[in-house]
Symmetry: C2
């Protein structure tokens, strides 16, 4: 959560894990608390609250601001997020998929500035993508665009949390890396991962990335394999979409070079020469702040859109 | 080739095969001849020539109207198609990829009217797609978007004309169907395909489609298999792009129901429920005319764009 000015400059910032699966009431109560804390702690708040931007990890009908059958957000389907915040704060509210906000952040203020066709891939627990087409967010017909994590990449029996088998994120997402890393630790195949397991009682994707950075061969193999799988899927995306830039972000991608190197190598090897001739594959430049910067950009973009300006002219000023 | 009025109504039409690989000079000489024939044969041409729209089977830099490293158009890389026609006809000229024009045609006047996010797939000799994102053609960074035919769908050794192996179109395009159908005829596995081979000295994809329509089991299996492969690729496209409509066009798709049925079944089975809930998979409604209708739409769209209007105001009228 961040408070920014209308230029997107961050005036205050809070960051903590949340379990989206506890449902909207419990999650958003904590958001309210943090919001109150943050605004009272942020000195020099320059005047009024112009708007609120919110990202959630699922498809959103952008017009209404309601989540639409979000697979990993039980209890949130159709929940009136916008109305809830409008009622409490008397400011306009926009809600979007969190990866769309990452993409918007990188595109307005990060590595993607100046590119009109961009795919921003978040590799965290799951895998998702935000898409810029012709200089605009492409949300798709149901707000579900960018769901690359559930593209089927393998036959066989690895079950995904979405209910299908063989999905990209079930094989190459953060949860998959943690699962395979923990297995390697338990089976005694990796000393470093064993140490992580002994210390914390579990192995995380970040443990795997750290072990790979210090040369652990099992961890390197896990990340390389995940990168190849992500890269093969992105090679198809490149042929279909022809972006000039792919941005790789998310916790797993931030924590080491192995994964990015492996993704990059596979994308260049598997896509058509024309589509890769000027293609860049870069790490996110805003990192963990991309989301809040994107949310702030969404608010200013909506506040000062042509349509909003026309409305202001009719009603005599911003409401 | 067609002459239309500004409403897109077709006043005259010619259709003949052309071998794009003979290079621009030879190809376009024949285009000049047809153009002269068509305009002299079309009675009641209402006044001036407002513009010319041209589609070519390869990536085009839309701004300049030049083909960009088109894989199956030897001799056309960077060829100044626009300048050539402007010099001859003193009218504005726009050039685009032929599948983009199919998409534009279906979107302006065909089955895709009213849909903002559409993928139009042409299954002819090769396989390509035209993409509408947020109500605009998505051409990608190099004009190479929609190149789904060269997504790698299989390991192994089936060589593609693009130089890679395992591409979708090498396994499921019209050439692949013709090749596999001819093999079945030679090996005596299909009586109907054998008859086609005896009659014409070769088997075409259309022969395979016709044989399947009359129940030939080998032909049915070939089309079903091709449809599954196309469908699996499109399922990935659906997860990434979330269109509300997929249009299937091109010679092979027009010639029977087997292929469409098999594509449809696979897309619905393999994509995420949310992305397929309101997804339609339909046959092209304009068929072979989609391209010329799209080219005509492109001309009027460009002639009467906001930018063009602003230019007219500056220079005192259309030039």
């Amino acid at each position: 959560m961040a408070v920014t000015d209308l230029d997107g400059r961050i005036l205050g910032h809070r960051d903590e894990p949340a379990d989206i699966a506890t449902g909207p009431e419990q999650c958003l109560l904590r958001v309210d608390e943090l919001f109150a804390e943050l605004t009272s702690a942020t000195r020099d708040l320059p005047g009024r609250l112009w708007g609120i931007g919110i990202g959630v990890p699922g498809p959103v009908e952008f017009r209404s601001g309601h989540p639409v059958s979000p697979p990993i957000m039980p209890g949130w389907d159709g929940y009136p997020i916008r109305e809830r915040f409008v009622a409490r704060h008397e400011a306009p509210v926009w809600v979007d998929n969190d990866v769309n906000l990452l993409a918007l952040g990188e595109w307005r203020s990060g590595i993607a500035v100046g590119h009109d066709n961009v795919v921003v891939v978040k590799i965290g627990t799951g895998i998702g993508a935000g898409i810029i087409s012709n200089g605009r967010i492409h949300r798709g017909a149901q707000g579900a665009a960018g769901d690359v994590g559930h593209i089927q990449v393998a036959e066989g029996s690895v079950a995904c949390r979405c209910g299908n088998v063989g999905c990209l994120e079930a094989l190459a997402g953060g949860s998959a890396l943690a699962r395979d890393g923990e297995l390697a630790a338990v089976e005694g195949r990796s000393e470093r991962l064993r140490m992580a397991l002994d210390q914390h009682g579990r192995v995380t994707a970040e443990d795997v990335a750290r072990a790979a950075s210090s040369g652990d061969p099992v961890a390197v193999a896990l990340l390389t394999d995940a990168g190849h799988r992500v890269g093969r899927t992105l090679a198809s995306v490149v042929n279909f979409f022809n972006p000039s830039l792919i941005v790789i972000g998310g916790g797993v991608a931030q924590s080491g070079d192995q994964l990015l190197a492996s993704i990059r190598e596979t994308v260049y090897r598997r896509s058509l020469p024309l589509a890769t001739r000027d293609l860049l594959v870069q790490r996110s430049s805003l990192g963990a702040l991309a989301g809040v910067i994107g949310a702030s950009s969404m608010v200013t973009e909506q506040l000062f859109s042509r349509e909003a300006m026309a409305r202001w002219l009719r009603v005599g000023g911003p409401r």
